[in-house]
């Protein structure tokens, strides 16, 4: 069989075997590229729900051979209308496992490793193994977590440019009903999730007293049952939205409440929607957003075309509307920004370090509190914490940071920059002079 002539995907070959006008400067078309994509590229798909199923299928059909998928959920009957990799007999099984198996059955040669696990339960290094992370999630919380992990791998050069080999690209998709978005996040280059957190409006929360006294619609009745009545009846037992009996109880109570106030419209699915903050998912929206994400992934990897810069909004509610926006980075973003480079001797104590921040021309930071991945190092207030942490002041910062040559640390306090007192917090890149970068565990523990 001749690999160049016979390809599973003629259309893919058109992108990867021919030159073009809008390609990345490093693009080198040819069969080697196609083989390298199979051989060397490892992608993690986060989420195996509506979007995740689509993503997994799209990526497998786009010539990627090494895929992993992570999801903590099990298949429910209500998933079956759009999560097309699942069948009735799969109900109750882990989504990641069934999704991986189904795609492998249909797309020959693809290797998919499923992880039936919470994203927080994986070691950080697990995520570093992948070249690209594709997100098919429905929660801000999970996106923020993965964003933090991916940006955590990012390192900067001395001139504040990102080190290209430490950039962990993310492709993020999201849908809500007929609306959706696809975006490319290159930490250090394009805005990270945290830079543009305002894109997600805070969820509407009804005042508790309205729920208790003057409910006006079905959602008020449901939230009353969920937030107030549940605690009143189930002393100390917390509500779990994934337990059907709990949901049924809230629904029954909401109905009772609605009858009392003559309010129509409480249904079981509305109850689920309000309590879990779900907006009905539309299969076609998932398919469209996922295809955009898979294409961006292929573009990032191969350079066969310029990537999306950097956010695609899609609205298929009435007619069809799409718009691409080039959102700016927040340069002092605490998560993806470079922070300020500081070089220190390994002997500098925490209290000396805090003094140095006051003098530092880019900081002029007084009364600094300090936090590092290893823990809370120092706080100026409240007294109860200040007292607990005071002992750290006389210890060398090098020891407190786990005796590594370089790491990031966050400080906050009052800055006098621009001649005005202001509350200020920033990331610092601390580099220890003379440290060899290998942690000496014995002394670290002994310290």
């Amino acid at each position: 069989m001749d690999a160049v002539d016979v390809s599973k995907s003629r259309d893919l070959d058109k992108l990867l075997l021919r030159h073009g006008n809008l390609v990345d400067p490093g693009f080198s078309p040819g069969p080697d590229l196609r083989d390298d994509i199979r051989e060397y590229v490892k992608i993690l798909v986060v989420g195996a729900g509506g979007l995740g199923c689509e993503l997994l299928k799209d990526l497998a059909l786009s010539g990627f051979r090494n895929l992993d998928v992570i999801d903590m959920d099990r298949i429910e009957v209500t998933n079956l209308n759009r999560q097309f990799l699942f069948r009735l007999e799969d109900v109750g099984k882990p989504k990641a496992e069934v999704a991986a198996k189904r795609v492998m059955e249909r797309v020959s040669g693809v290797e998919i490793v499923p992880h039936f696990s919470r994203i927080e339960d994986k070691e950080i290094e697990f995520y570093n193994d992948f070249n690209i992370i594709a997100l098919g999630l429905d929660s801000i919380e999970a996106r923020k977590y993965i964003n933090g992990v991916a940006c955590g791998f990012l390192e900067y050069n001395d001139d504040d440019t990102p080190k290209s080999q430490t950039i962990k690209p993310m492709v993020d998709g999201g849908t809500e009903g007929f609306k959706g978005h696809a975006r490319v996040i290159m930490p250090g280059v394009t805005p990270c999730f945290e830079c543009t957190i305002w894109l997600f409006p805070p969820q509407v929360k009804f005042p508790l007293c309205t729920l208790a006294e003057t409910p006006r619609n079905a959602a008020h009745c449901i939230e009353y049952a969920h937030l107030i009545k549940w605690d009143e009846v189930h002393k100390g037992k917390s509500f779990d939205p994934d337990v059907p009996e709990h949901m049924q109880w809230v629904y029954d109570e909401a109905i009772r409440r609605a009858e009392l106030f003559g309010i129509p419209g409480v249904t079981y699915s509305l109850t689920q929607g309000v309590v879990k903050n779900i907006i009905p998912a539309i299969a076609s929206t998932n398919a469209i957003i996922s295809s955009a994400c898979a294409l961006e992934t292929l573009k990032i990897v191969s350079g066969c075309s310029k990537t999306l810069t950097n956010y695609l909004a899609y609205n298929g509610g009435e007619g069809l509307y799409t718009k691409v926006t080039d959102f700016p980075r927040v340069n002092d973003c605490l998560v993806c920004g470079p922070g300020i480079l500081i070089e220190l001797d390994t002997s500098v104590t925490l209290s000396k370090f805090i003094e140095m921040l006051e003098e530092h021309p880019k900081l002029l930071l007084s009364k600094a509190s300090v936090i590092h991945g290893n823990g809370n190092l120092y706080m100026q207030a409240p007294p109860v914490l200040e007292e607990m942490l005071r002992g750290n002041l006389s210890k060398p910062l090098y020891d407190l940071m786990g005796r590594v040559q370089k790491d990031t640390i966050h400080v906050s306090g009052t800055s006098l920059l621009n001649e005005q007192k202001q509350s200020f917090s920033t990331k610092l890149r601390v580099l220890f002079k003379g440290a060899d970068g290998v942690a000496d565990m014995d002394t670290a523990i002994g310290a």
Partner: protein, 184 residues
């Protein structure tokens, strides 16, 4: 980026079983960093104290006790639990009153009706604002936003009786059918 990925794969193979030079400790989330700043800048009235039951490294769960120095609730001690989510300040902290209290805006389960905890929360607000908001509930309980319907009605119609009821509850006793443990 395929060229970069190939280089990385080679490095990865070589580096297998060798430890990494850089740090790969877990980093705090943006929410934890913001909370660290909020708490280090707390400026509480002397009648409020904060404590951290899980120690110095868990700031996401803490307790605030409020001891009002005037008004109906003078000299009572009221403890609130704060649960801060990783998406803070995108979401308000979850606050409950641990002390059973006879109060128009706090129900017997400890739910609190304070606008900035629900419909009026904005990410620019902080823990200090919330604690001052709670403090204010004790100096100015209001019958307009009732969570404890009976207490609100008494406050509105018969402030004298309300005062008596509050005293009785705080010193440990029954108001109507409900027993309130002593908190004074």
């Amino acid at each position: 980026m395929i060229g970069l990925f190939k280089v990385k794969e080679k490095q990865r193979e070589q580096a297998q079983n060798a430890t990494r030079g850089g740090a790969s400790v877990k980093k705090q989330s943006a929410g934890e960093l913001r909370l660290h700043k909020d708490i280090s800048e707390l400026n509480l009235p002397s009648s409020c104290t904060i404590s951290f039951p899980n120690g110095k490294d868990d700031l996401m769960n803490f307790e605030v006790s409020i001891k009002p120095d005037d008004g109906y609730y003078q000299n009572g001690t009221f403890v609130f639990t704060f649960q801060v989510s990783p998406v803070y300040p995108h979401e308000a902290p979850k606050v409950k009153c641990k002390t059973k209290v006879y109060h128009p805006n706090i129900d017997l389960e400890g739910n609190v009706c304070l606008n900035i905890l629900r419909e009026d929360w904005k990410p620019v607000l902080n823990i200090n604002t919330v604690i001052y908001g709670l403090f204010h509930l004790f100096t100015e309980p209001n019958s307009e936003d009732p969570l404890n319907h009976d207490a609100a009605a008494v406050l509105r119609d018969n402030p004298k009786l309300f005062e008596t009821n509050v005293r009785r509850a705080m010193t440990g006793g029954y108001v109507g059918q409900t027993f309130f443990p002593r908190c004074i």
